[in-house]
């Protein structure tokens, strides 16, 4: 029974990133997977104009929901309760886990099966269940693999994307009794399925995430490809759904548009294999379904993002993972190096609200601001603008009232002094001319070792004459 791991993402990020970038197998694996996913996504959006329109609509639906968040959450709760769903509110991960444990203890649950849920990763649910003696079994094949390996997901859609089939074959042979080593992928999946089948039948609780929660009808929408989500939400006698408060949308008829964007952006599929619409527990005249359905709505810092009109856009996310699939940084270091539940560009902008600005400051700087993420985001989150804002907040002078949690914690006296000096030179043209003149005249004295730059590059040396000197000479001729 292990304790939850409390990551301090900033600490050790550079070391983890260096190790990952220097691991050829990891680099090959992620590169191949990212190229594959990029090509598949592109094939699903052959018309740039159509894509732009879909993204406009997707962004509008999500912005509308966030602009009306308090009212929509109240409406969602009222509709769900009317449908027979029990609604719980959690401000913190600990509260979310306590709610699940309360339910589990009340029904004397011993076993839980889990559909894929990043929010359950965010709150460390598996650890909390294990600590209480309840088996919490991942049933998404990728999640099952990383759970078996004692790891966390390295991608929000494809949790085991960092693993090769050889590694999975070794893992299955080592951990599953009576299983022989095989690299046959179909056989590996069959083995996994067989284990999971038995678990579905024996589970007391099925846990799932939520993709969209429609306020007008009180419907929980859940998409998936393996059918395990349907099993988790229908077979056990109790279904607990857990999600962030931002997942609410105003209307059920907003789902088709969002579901047009989500699978295409995520895995390059036109449609998911399973679309589940859950509107309550089994009714007296129905043959199957759970006796109880619960929804846990988690805040965990999301209110802070929501309160800020710029940072609110962070919550538009529909968790497709396209930003990480197209990120040059993510492709080089993979998901684990980030040290956060949510890796990649979306992780860098959501994690500060979950863990604090200071603890995640390195993640905000770990971007070239190339904008590939902005370009593919199906709901048009301006990710790089938010990264710049978070960099500002990380360096901010301490103590404004209402400041974001952890603001100013990454302020460095040295870097601040450098930028003050830089601004002094570059905002005073006479000083700039003097400094650049001296640098060009003294170019022979330019250090050949220029910190991290020359670790892998030749040094930057000022030209003999600046452009302004060349232009002045040209005018004189």
């Amino acid at each position: 029974m292990s304790e939850p791991i409390h990551f301090q993402p900033t600490t050790g990020f550079a070391e983890r990133a260096r190790a990952a970038a220097g691991d050829p197998a990891l680099r090959r694996g992620f590169r191949g997977a990212m190229d594959f996913l990029q090509a598949k996504r592109l094939a699903q959006f052959p018309d740039a104009g159509d894509l732009a329109t879909l993204r406009d609509l997707g962004a509008a639906i999500r912005r509308h929901a966030l602009e009306n968040l308090p009212q929509l959450l109240e409406q969602l709760e009222a509709k769900l309760v009317a449908n027979g769903v029990q609604v719980h509110w959690a401000e913190t991960p600990a509260q979310a886990n306590a709610i699940v444990l309360d339910i589990a203890h009340r029904i004397d649950a011993k076993r839980m099966v889990k559909g894929k849920s990043m929010v359950s990763e965010e709150v460390g649910l598996n650890h909390a269940m294990e600590a209480a003696g309840i088996e919490a079994m991942e049933t998404d094949m990728g999640e099952y693999i990383v759970q078996l390996a004692g790891e966390g997901p390295s991608h929000i859609i494809m949790p085991a994307i960092h693993k090769t089939k050889q590694q999975i074959a070794e893992l299955f042979a080592a951990r599953l009794p009576g299983v022989e080593y095989t690299e046959n992928v179909d056989e590996l999946i069959r083995i996994g399925r067989e284990v999971l089948r038995r678990k579905f039948a024996a589970a007391d609780i099925g846990l799932s995430g939520v993709n969209f929660a429609a306020a007008d009808t009180g419907t929980l929408c859940l998409v998936e490809n393996e059918g395990n989500g349907r099993m988790c939400t229908t077979v056990p006698r109790v279904h607990i759904a857990i999600t962030g408060i931002e997942k609410v949308i105003a209307r059920l008829d907003h789902v088709p548009l969002l579901n047009t964007l989500l699978p295409r952006s995520a895995t390059g599929q036109a449609v998911e294999t399973y679309q589940n619409f859950i509107s309550g527990p089994r009714q007296p005249d129905e043959l199957d379904g759970p006796d109880e359905v619960h929804l846990i709505l988690l805040d965990n810092g999301r209110s802070q993002a929501h309160a800020d009109l710029q940072l609110r856009a962070t919550l538009q996310c529909i968790r497709c993972g396209a930003c990480m699939n197209h990120c040059p940084v993510y492709a080089r270091i993979g998901g684990h190096a980030y040290g956060t539940t949510y890796p990649g560009p979306i992780g860098a902008i959501i994690s500060p609200h979950l863990l604090g600005i200071g603890a995640t400051a390195a993640l905000a700087t770990a971007s070239t601001l190339c904008g590939a993420c902005n370009e593919v985001c199906p709901v048009r989150i301006p990710i790089t603008e938010i990264l710049i804002r978070l960099r500002n907040e990380a360096q901010a002078r301490p103590a404004a009232v209402g400041a974001l949690r952890g603001a100013g914690e990454a302020r460095s006296a040295l870097v601040s002094t450098i930028f003050r000096a830089w601004a002094a030179v570059y905002s005073h043209p006479a000083l700039y001319r003097l400094v650049t003149w001296a640098m060009s005249r003294g170019r022979g004295l330019t250090p050949r070792t220029q910190g991290a730059w020359t670790g892998i590059r030749t040094p930057l040396i000022p030209a003999r004459k600046r452009l302004r000197d060349l232009l002045a000479e040209r005018r004189r001729q």
Binding site: A14, A17, A21, G22, R27, P328, V329, R332, I333, T365, A366, S367, T368, L369, C370, G371, A372, N374, E375, P382, E385, I388, R391, N392, E393, A394, Q395, V415, S416, F419, R420, W422, A423, V425, Y426, S427, P429, Y432, T436, S440, G451, A452, W453, T454, I456, R457, T458, P459, L460, I461, P462, A463, K465, R466, L467, R468, D469, L470, L471, R474
Partner: protein, 264 residues
């Protein structure tokens, strides 16, 4: 923010050059070739002596006050209604798209920033859409690879105008490279803050440029060029190669030379 569709002015008699700090101090030939290209088209180029830097290093590093202190000085430098041409897509995007955000809410500077933004043109954009650049290619047949910076591509659409200029050179073949649209790993202070990640990205970029079979790389952004060429040169030195495996230059210099300079 995708690059926008904009309406372009008639070819002017006068225009400003905002050279950028990198060109002024580290790549002055690129700036000079940009001036030569433009003046050969009959445009008088004015270089405000007070110009320094667009302010992007501070803007992207979390120091907006310092960025504003530098940016506000640049906003004042272009009193005539002439276009302002920038031989760097990244700095052009900073002045066109990010100045208005940097000065958002400032009753004086925000409108000025917006007005200036309307007059900011990236060099290749200006050559294609305003000048209608069309000069005979006088060079030997050669194969080049084009690298367009991320901001030039995504905020200024300069990948299309750079490619159009190369397509107008009869003897130049543009090599296909793997992942042309991927970042080179420069990212300003990113290259210093996250050296291992930057190294991984730029090394891949160098490899795909070399593998493209091009004899050189051209780019309209000096930041990327210094990153890519500096990495390629470092690899060459480590391997004991005397000849560069990946020479490169600013697109302005390449264009000027191909179109035979003053004789063009």
């Amino acid at each position: 923010m995708a690059h926008d569709t904009r309406s372009y002015p008639q070819k002017p008699a006068d225009a400003y050059l905002f050279a950028t700090c990198l060109v002024d101090q580290f790549a002055p030939e690129a700036g000079l070739d940009a001036v030569r290209l433009l003046e050969r088209e009959g445009i008088a180029i004015h270089f405000p002596e007070q110009q320094t830097c667009c302010g992007q290093p501070a803007y992207t590093s979390g120091y907006p006050d310092e960025a504003r202190a530098v940016a506000r000085r640049q906003i004042e430098l272009f009193p005539e209604a002439w276009p302002v041409i920038v031989p760097s897509g990244s700095c052009a995007a900073m002045m066109r798209h990010h100045y208005p955000k940097l000065f958002a809410g400032d009753p004086v500077l925000e409108p000025k920033a917006r007005a200036l933004g309307e007059r900011i043109f990236e060099l290749t954009e200006f050559l294609v859409h305003v000048v209608g650049f069309r000069r005979e290619d006088r060079g030997e047949p050669c194969t080049v690879a084009l690298h367009t910076s991320c901001h030039a591509r995504r905020e200024m659409g300069a990948h299309e105008t750079s490619a159009a200029l190369l397509a107008g050179l009869a003897e130049v073949t543009v090599a296909q490279q793997a992942r042309a649209e991927e970042c080179c790993g420069f990212g300003g202070t990113f290259a210093i803050r996250h050296p291992a990640i930057s190294e991984a990205i730029v090394s891949d970029k160098v490899a795909s440029l070399v593998d493209s079979g091009a004899s050189r790389v051209v780019s309209a952004d000096c930041g990327c060029l210094f990153n890519i060429l500096g990495r390629a040169e470092h690899i060459d030195r480590a391997a004991g190669r005397g000849e560069p495996s990946l020479p490169g230059e600013h697109l302005a210099s390449f264009l000027w030379r191909r179109t035979a300079g003053e004789q063009g």
